[in-house]
């Protein structure tokens, strides 16, 4: 049988090489087609992506726990080393905050009184969904996070995501058990904001750097480094008045904003469930 087998191999080899080449070319076409379909924002591609992420989520979730524990351990060691100075700092801060608390109470009382007098409609209700960060996009082209909470937990697309310090981004993709946050530093992020105090409107535009730009500031707007930026709530996606960051630099007419969020320490974030009462009412009318 040997000669026959040799003949078969001689015949089969080129066919196999051909099949490999054909498969290779086919895969290249598949990748290009996917890029085009992704650019066209096809729903099919998005569904495929969210399903794959949903499948990978348990693994990522399990693996991210020890990392979080490791960081907490490191933090503990750091805290022990600076126990004395940290205590002093906190005592001073506590004094300052106590003063602020008195002021805030007074203002809240006044505010409630005025609202009552003027019959002001109160803002929309905001509730929170807390979610664990299970994934972090690496690489220079995107700035996103994966959260271990999705549609089943009440998250919907477009909702704002905040950390303890400030705004993080918004929900861009939604799976059953996972969701993807587009960080406010990402190239595709555009968030309507206000300069606190002066109430100038602007758009906070991410460009993949750590410090997003302020765009569409009114002509003649007076801005200086240190000015606080908050969400404006325009467009109805984000609740107004949430802290975003401070203006860090003004160069060549471009104002850059240093976000309050500490990107390295995002273990847990909150998704804001925020419904515009007006929109809900009109939905009920229909």
């Amino acid at each position: 049988m040997r000669p026959l087998r040799g003949r078969v191999t001689r015949l089969a080899m080129p066919i196999r090489v051909m099949a490999h080449r054909f498969a290779f070319v086919l895969l290249v076409f598949a990748a290009v087609a996917m890029l085009i379909a992704g650019k066209a924002d096809l729903a099919l591609i998005e569904r495929f992506r969210t399903q794959v992420v949903d499948i990978a989520a348990p693994v990522l979730d399990a693996a991210s726990h020890p990392i979080a524990a490791f960081h907490r351990g490191l933090d503990k060691i750091g805290e022990l080393a600076f126990l004395y100075s940290e205590n002093q700092r906190l005592t001073l801060e506590n004094e300052r905050l106590r003063h602020w608390q008195d002021v805030a109470r007074q203002l809240a009382r006044d505010n409630a009184q005025y609202r009552h007098l003027l019959n002001v409609k109160s803002g929309p209700d905001v509730s929170y969904v807390s979610a664990r960060v299970i994934g972090d996009s690496g690489g220079p082209f995107v700035r996103t996070l994966l959260l271990g909470a999705g549609e089943a937990d009440g998250v919907t697309k477009g909702q704002a995501v905040i950390s303890a310090n400030g705004l993080v981004g918004r929900i861009a993709e939604l799976g059953q058990r996972t969701s993807r946050v587009l960080l406010l530093t990402d190239l595709n992020s555009r968030i309507p904001v206000l300069l606190e105090g002066a109430s100038y409107r602007a758009i906070l535009a991410g460009d993949n750097t750590d410090q997003p730009r302020l765009e569409f500031l009114p002509v003649g707007a007076e801005v200086k480094p240190g000015d606080r930026i908050v969400t404006s709530g325009h467009g109805g996606l984000f609740p107004p008045g949430r802290p975003v960051g401070v203006i860090s630099s003004l160069a060549d007419g471009i104002a850059r904003v240093q976000p309050f969020t500490d990107w390295q320490r995002l273990e847990q974030v909150s998704v804001l469930r925020f419904d515009m009462p007006r929109l809900e009412a009109s939905a009920q009318d229909q």
Binding site: A23, V28, A31, G135, F141, R143, L146, E267
Partner: protein, 173 residues
């Protein structure tokens, strides 16, 4: 003669180990490691995996595997779908066809080969991302990412060559 069960299992293990290792490296890349300023320059760890295996054991890193690893990378990182799939596929093709240049040479030659392939891959990824977003993206983070990948390569390659020796041992038994 049908191969015994042990040898079948052995065969199955050696065929899947490179792919599983690459998958593990891919997942490490997605985890929130919380290293300061690391995110934007985090290396694509599947790149050395695809390079190494398609040069030294092309039978264990076929084109569909490279494609799937790239696609999973795109999906988990939230990048343009198909970008890294295309890049890793081209890396696999280039390595399989040029493996003679590197195989049997010293480690430094392998590293130099990776320098060229990885440089071309980073450049290709950057160009594709620029076309995808219709704008010139910053190149510095890509260079940094390239440098980090180059520095990590010796460690990853060492791990792989140990695995390769182990697979060869299993094959003989």
């Amino acid at each position: 003669m049908r191969p015994s069960l042990t040898s079948q299992v052995n065969h199955w293990v050696r065929v899947t180990v490179p792919g599983l290792m690459a998958l593990g490296l891919l997942l490490i890349g997605v985890l929130p490691l919380g290293l300061p300023d690391f995110g934007p320059i985090a290396p694509v760890l599947t790149l050395p995996a695809v390079y190494f295996w398609s040069i030294y054991r092309p039978d264990l890193m076929p084109a569909p595997l490279a494609f799937s690893l790239g696609l999973l990378h795109d999906i988990l990182n939230g990048g343009p779908p198909g970008l890294m799939a295309l890049v890793l596929l081209l890396v696999q093709g280039a390595c399989v066809s040029q493996s003679k240049v590197v195989v049997g040479k010293s480690f430094v030659v392998g590293w130099f080969g990776f320098l060229i392939i990885s440089g071309a891959a980073h450049l290709a990824a950057w160009l594709l991302a620029c076309i995808y977003h219709f704008q010139a993206l910053a190149f510095t983070p890509v260079l940094m990412q390239f440098a980090v990948t180059m520095l990590l390569y010796p460690f990853i390659a060492r791990l792989f060559s140990l695995t390769q020796a182990w697979i060869a041992r299993v094959e003989i038994e």
